[in-house]
């Protein structure tokens, strides 16, 4: 073979890869927890610290678990959408208040509105580790049997809500 053709051949292979790469989303990191049971927890409620809540209590309904914190700037961005979703009554939202101070968290909800049926306090972030939380906010869709069906990393966008989360919730409920 003509050795002067080698650069062209390498380039053709490179272009093929780049063409495939265009269809992929590098920001999407699949969670190993999809289609696995939601890790168990038993944590105090944010508003009533002496009442504990566990995953088992949620059996029989489709729900969202939204990881949030008062120190998280992107949570503020996603918040109005959560409030709107909560008002529509499409799906109950539970909050996992992650590595936060209780007073800060309560103040934050007071100021921006509380979209959550209830929030659970994960002061030390141990449960966050079980759920593979690596950025806040994150949102899990959990079905009636307590299986995680979807994970949204970063703030929920209106597109993700209408194209992915709500259809999935309807399907799981149906």
């Amino acid at each position: 073979m003509n050795r002067h053709l080698i650069p062209l051949a390498i380039f053709v292979v490179l272009v093929l890869f780049l063409a495939v790469g265009l269809r992929l989303n590098p920001r999407e990191i699949p969670s190993p927890l999809i289609n696995k049971p939601a890790p168990a927890f038993e944590l105090p409620q944010l508003h009533q610290p002496d009442h504990k809540v566990s995953v088992a209590d949620m059996r029989g309904k489709v729900w969202l678990l939204n990881v949030w914190a008062s120190w998280c700037v992107s949570c503020r961005q996603e918040h109005p959408l959560l409030v709107e979703l909560s008002n529509s009554g499409a799906v109950p939202i539970y909050g996992l208040n992650y590595k936060d101070q209780r007073t800060d968290a309560l103040g934050w909800l007071q100021e921006f509105g509380n979209p959550y049926v209830m929030s659970i306090s994960d002061l030390e972030g141990h449960i966050g580790i079980d759920y593979g939380v690596y950025g806040v906010p994150e949102t899990f869709v959990i079905d009636k049997e307590g299986i995680i069906r979807y994970k949204q990393i970063g703030p929920i966008t209106p597109e993700a809500l209408s194209n992915k989360i709500l259809p999935l919730v309807r399907q799981l409920n149906g």
Partner: protein
């Protein structure tokens, strides 16, 4: 009205680019002088219309015309005016317009400084540049129009990304693009030479100054970007091996190989097809960089909005330009002669070794950058490749290259002997070994890595002195005359090589001896880092034009004597609700003191990161010396003479092929 004029100007520029890209090249192929003569006026006309478009967009930004979608997305009425201007290239559409603007500036420069070139050559070079410009203008008009209207107009804009609101951002992209796009001239010369079949020493002589200038701009552009990330991102790193940084670094590595390869082709007529291939590579990597940044195929801190249609367009364009030129290369290069022969040990072979090392380094950076994409495309999982890979591949490749940098410039062309080279360089070698062994003790702790870095740096300094000394020794007359007699290009080479040494000193010492402390500080607390004492005097709230900030006050003292007061800030930009960290830096010749504020830790306490960074500014100082070396080389007398006596140069151009 003005945005429509800008839009219209882009369409006119597109039509002119079409003429510029087709007729002159066709004319050169058929010997039609009239068609060839179109090249210069077309390139100049294209410059005028692209400049009008650019001015219209800048005007829309400066006057807060939020009926233009791109302005509304990237500016705000509270944004200070210099950033409103820089916001022109703060997003995708405007960056492309800047790219095209730079290309038309380079084309204009070619029309002005090419009087000594044969008409067919000028026609082909400008034709190729016209085709490249055609692609970019088409892309802008079809998928990235900066003049799209937003009706009804927004009340106010969404603001420029706060981390881009910085003086460095005003000049970094234009510098970088001058470099990127400048390689299009070397590329156009290479394609023109392939088309004409005359890949000879004259071709190399013509492309050399253009390539060197582009390389110098690219060097400055990369250094500015690195400096910007150092003080803006707030944690004191200066290079992250981020895909977008790599995208600018790969053309730099290949461009460095190219300017050396061109020197051999000009002086000895050797490496012709290799040089042409490097010219194609350098520009291809610039285009690939544009693709990687603009298409969103890779994750990067430079998160620009992405649109799959855009990615497909750029990829198609890439395939045509690079694929086409590599096919042309495969077709024409076999007919190119080999040029002057040389021995295993000679300046040619040393330069060739370094070229290969630089290209392999660029290849491994490319591999590391694209590896996550390869694996993902083959469905083998998602990974990311970080600094450990790049550091462990890059350093072993560059170390021998740096050693050869010291030997190459003093070796004779054609044939050199190892024993003879060893004798000439023995003092340089002894001095660098001694300083590598002893200097770390003088600065601090001895570690193998610091010692090795200093060995490489002092080797460059010492061998440069040997080089200069030998060169002057063989001449007559007083020393000052001997110094003055050396050409600028020679001093340019020495300066750039010293710049590399200075750069290595910076990297070595900052890696070896930097001290970093993360502490929680109440007002009145002191902490000592690197021999300096920092006292925190509390933070106050301040307001900027478009942000609110907490500003800390830290008094820095050494041995009880006050050195400086630093004011780091934690800002919240009001429009985008985005927090940023403004580090406060006390810059010094031998060290930087770097303070950045983290999150508040209680009511009056703050998390603080305090760093002592020895010799960190030598990193950018080295880059500036390299760039100055390049510019000095271009200021050489022979280029100026070449312009004045263009008749003589044209004779030279007519005389074919290799000098004896």
């Amino acid at each position: 009205m003005l945005p429509e004029i800008g839009h219209f100007s882009l369409i006119v520029a597109l039509l002119i680019a079409l003429v510029q890209g087709v007729l002159p090249i066709a004319g050169a192929a058929r010997g039609n002088a009239r068609w060839m003569a179109l090249a210069r006026p077309a390139a100049q006309g294209q410059f005028v219309f692209v400049a009008i478009a650019f001015a219209c967009l800048a005007y829309a930004f400066i006057n807060n015309d939020f009926s233009v979608l791109y302005v509304a997305s990237n500016s705000n009425s509270a944004l200070p005016i210099q950033y409103r201007f820089a916001a022109v290239w703060g997003g995708h559409e405007g960056s492309l317009l800047l790219w095209t603007m730079m290309l038309s500036v380079w084309s204009l420069a070619v029309t002005l400084f090419s009087r000594h070139l044969p008409d067919a050559m000028v026609a082909r070079v400008l034709g190729v540049m016209g085709l490249v410009s055609l692609g970019f203008l088409l892309f802008m008009l079809l998928a990235s129009n900066p003049f799209d209207r937003l009706l009804p107009a927004a009340d106010d804009g969404r603001d420029l990304n706060p981390i881009l609101q910085d003086p460095g951002m005003v000049i970094h992209p234009p510098m970088l693009y001058m470099g990127y796009v400048g390689f299009s001239v070397a590329f156009a010369f290479a394609i023109a030479a392939l088309l004409s079949g005359q890949l000879d020493a004259t071709w190399a002589r013509w492309s050399r100054p253009w390539t060197t200038v582009a390389w110098a701009f690219l060097t400055l552009g990369i250094a500015l970007g690195s400096g910007w990330s150092y003080y803006v991102l707030g944690w004191g790193g200066w290079w992250f091996w981020d895909p977008v940084e790599n995208a600018s670094f790969m053309p730099w590595l290949v461009g460095t190989a190219l300017i050396h390869s061109l020197a051999v082709t000009e002086k000895r007529g050797s490496f012709r097809s290799w040089t042409v291939l490097l010219a194609i590579f350098a520009f291809s990597l610039s285009l690939l960089g544009t693709f990687l940044v603009r298409s969103g195929v890779l994750t990067s801190v430079h998160a620009f909005a992405t649109d799959p249609r855009r990615g497909i367009f750029i990829l198609g364009f890439l395939a045509i330009v690079i694929g086409g030129s590599l096919a042309l290369f495969a077709w024409r290069a076999p007919k190119v002669g080999l040029g002057g022969s040389f021995d295993l040990v000679s300046r040619e072979s040393l330069l060739l070794s370094n070229n290969v090392l630089l290209v392999v380094a660029a290849g491994s950076v490319l591999l590391g950058t694209l590896y996550p994409l390869f694996l993902d495309a083959l469905d083998l999982g998602k990974i990311s490749v970080g600094p450990p890979y790049f550091d462990s591949v890059f350093v072993p490749l560059m170390a021998p290259a740096i050693f050869l940098m010291g030997v190459g410039p003093i070796a004779r062309w054609k044939h050199a002997g190892i024993p003879e080279l060893a004798i000439r360089l023995r003092w340089a070698f002894v001095i660098s070994l001694l300083s590598a062994a002893l200097m770390p003790f003088a600065i601090g702790k001895w570690t193998p890595l610091v010692s090795f870095g200093l060995l490489l740096a002092t080797w460059l300094f010492a061998s440069t002195i040997v080089n200069l000394g030998e060169r002057l020794k063989n001449q007559q007359g007083p020393w000052r005359d001997r110094l003055a007699r050396q050409p600028y290009s020679y001093y340019g080479m020495l300066l750039a090589h010293i710049g590399v040494g200075v750069f290595i000193v910076g990297v070595t010492l900052v890696k070896g001896y930097e001290v970093e402390k993360d502490v929680r500080m109440e007002a009145g607390d002191t902490v000592s880092v690197g021999g300096y004492t920092f006292r925190f005097d509390g933070a106050t709230q301040v307001r900027g034009p478009n942000y609110a900030a907490a500003r800390g006050t830290l008094r820095v003292s050494r041995d009880g004597r006050e050195v400086r007061t630093l004011y780091p800030e934690k800002r919240l930009y009001t429009v985008q609700q985005m927090p940023t960290t403004e580090a406060a830096i006390d810059t010094g010749f031998t060290r930087d003191l770097y303070v950045s504020m983290g999150e508040p830790a209680g009511t009056t306490a703050w998390a603080m990161r305090i760093q002592y960074k020895p010799f960190v500014d030598w990193i950018w100082g080295g880059c500036v010396l390299m760039a100055m070396g390049g510019l000095l080389a271009v200021a050489d007398r022979r280029y100026r003479l070449g312009r004045r006596n263009h008749v003589k140069a044209a004779d030279l151009a007519g005389a074919s092929s290799v000098p004896p």
